[in-house]
Amino acid sequence: MVTTETPSLQRLECEPLSNPQASSLTSELLTIILWVDDGAQLLDQCLFSMAGQNYRPLELIAVAAGRDREFLGGMLEEYSGLEPFDHRVLVEQGVGRAEAMNAAIEHARGQYLAFVTADQVVYPDHYVRLLQELSEVPAAWAISGFVRAYLAQMVRGSPFIRWKQEHPLREPFDLLWFHYNRPICSSVVIDRTRIGKFQLALTNNQGPIENDPLFFKLAAVFEPAIVKGIPSCEQRMTRSRAVLEAAPELPNGQMLGSARELNGAVALRLRTLAAVDRAKTQLRLRWPRLYWVAKEISNWGSKVVSGRSLRDNFDRLSRGRS
């Protein structure tokens, strides 16, 4: 039996550190870096969700690959007209995603930094809640729960959402859980005045941005502030992203080596649960009737064997209680 009342992977446990370059940042300003790839069908909705943000001052830097500056600039102009915010377009030709995003980080003026991709939408009070949490605790970054919305199809250019799945955050913050569940990138806000000399730079050009080692390193070094309650940002799972990608291997490195061995059993359990969750999602999307039948049978079996519902058993297992 494995019990993990304490976090399952040891972090370095750095306290927030003052950043020597903090004086060059604009206090209270939130810079959101938006990655727009070639096939961003949902960009319009992402930008509309930005216009509806309750947090100000806000700066949006759209980083584009292959789109022309006028097209994006025109869209940003239109949406910032509804509820004014600063915006810029950065078109980086002939470089990978990581390099383009890092250029945007260099341009960002805000004390606070957030990332979003064109297939995500953010609920109106999302950044207000994250920054409120950051103002109350001395953390270097904050994170909220998130939602994955599975799209059946695009009908006349508009997505039809078949199903949504909420992913609230578990407490206390668990680095290994974070690694295997990879909250979407818009669920995170970083206070750049509190990260010392920590290097904010992406390195991955492929796969979801949240799989970039940057986020795991940040989580490994600094304890986040956790925003409880209703998840407030959403990933639109289009056909190209319909299959949830498994988290990458744990990063190599001396600092994590011993912890990884110590926590091998916990890691195996979390990895297995994440795989089961992915399989369940696929079953529900592809054969919904079969999913409901299987769920009913499993639930009945679970109650007969343990006296608890399947959900209860799943929750207990993911928290390390048998």
Partner: protein, 270 residues
């Protein structure tokens, strides 16, 4: 003859910021070249403070204020009567003052209403967290239309009138949808007509909870769902609502199973 679309807003103690934001969204909205936008405001607030704000954003606006809160249904009915009294007005759109319309919202509503024969009501899609009720992505039919941003066609208004004024606020949109369907009209959603409106994060207010239950009890009583009406009434009274009697009505017919889904009144997608 030129065509007009009337946008009707019922205000109640809204902030200047909300009203200015709504005016910006109206201004940014595109409509077909031969359609004119007309704005109608009914203010249920205790003072007419917003009259001045509106005058500053765009002079000569049609604004009514009586100093009493007549409720959502009555206020919209008065605006609808005013709007449809002009022959060129083909559509009336109820707009919640705390909503933010997408720049193509009105255009999409008009297109869906124009494409479907016997279209009675067309709702905008709530964004970013849309209502989970089921709709057909091809025919765009939906069990009922939300009143947040709701287009009412002239044909429907002439056939059945506006909202039932016994609803002060909440559930009047469900009732109007069911009455529209009973009269042979379609209730539709325009999926690309987005309206930024988020209610999940709102604090739970006793007044709102009471108003929802009172309206739901009246709705259930009207459609003969006695058990659901009793349940809503019990909840209403346990929240401390002043007692009221549900009058005996000859029950209308609600779509099958609507009350099984509780206050969603329709099957959910999630």
């Amino acid at each position: 003859m030129s065509k007009a679309i009337a946008l009707g807003v019922v205000l109640f103690n809204n902030s200047t910021h909300e009203v200015c934001r709504l005016v910006r969204a109206f201004t940014a909205n595109r409509v077909p070249g031969d359609v004119r936008q007309e704005w109608f405001w009914w203010d249920n607030s205790g003072t007419d403070r917003l009259r001045r704000e509106l005058e500053q954003t765009r002079p000569g606006q049609r604004y009514w204020w009586t100093g009493t809160n007549v409720g959502f249904s009555v206020a919209h009915n008065r605006l609808m009567r005013e709007a449809f009294s002009r022959d060129e007005c083909l559509w009336y759109v109820c707009v919640n003052p705390d909503a933010l319309l997408h720049p193509r919202c009105l255009l999409e509503l008009i297109q869906v209403a124009g494409r479907e024969p016997r279209a009675g009501l067309v709702e905008a899609r709530l964004f970013p967290d849309e209502h989970p009720k089921q709709y057909d992505p091809i025919t765009l039919k939906t069990a009922w239309c939300s009143g947040c941003v709701l287009l009412v066609t002239r044909a429907l208004y002439e056939a059945i009138g506006g909202f039932d004024e016994n609803f002060f606020i909440y559930c009047e949109d469900v009732d109007l949808s069911w009455r529209a369907q009973a009269a042979g009209f379609k209730t539709l959603i325009a999926p690309a007509a987005l309206v930024h409106h988020y209610a999940q994060g709102r604090p739970i207010l006793k007044e709102r909870e009471l108003a929802v239950r009172r309206s739901a009890a009246y709705l259930a009583n009207k459609y003969g769902a006695t058990e659901f009406a009793r349940r809503m009434l019990t909840e209403y009274q346990s929240l401390g609502g002043p007692s009221f009697e549900l009058s005996k009505l000859s029950p209308k017919k609600a779509p099958h199973g609507s009350f099984q889904h509780l206050l969603r009144f329709s099957e959910s997608r999630w």
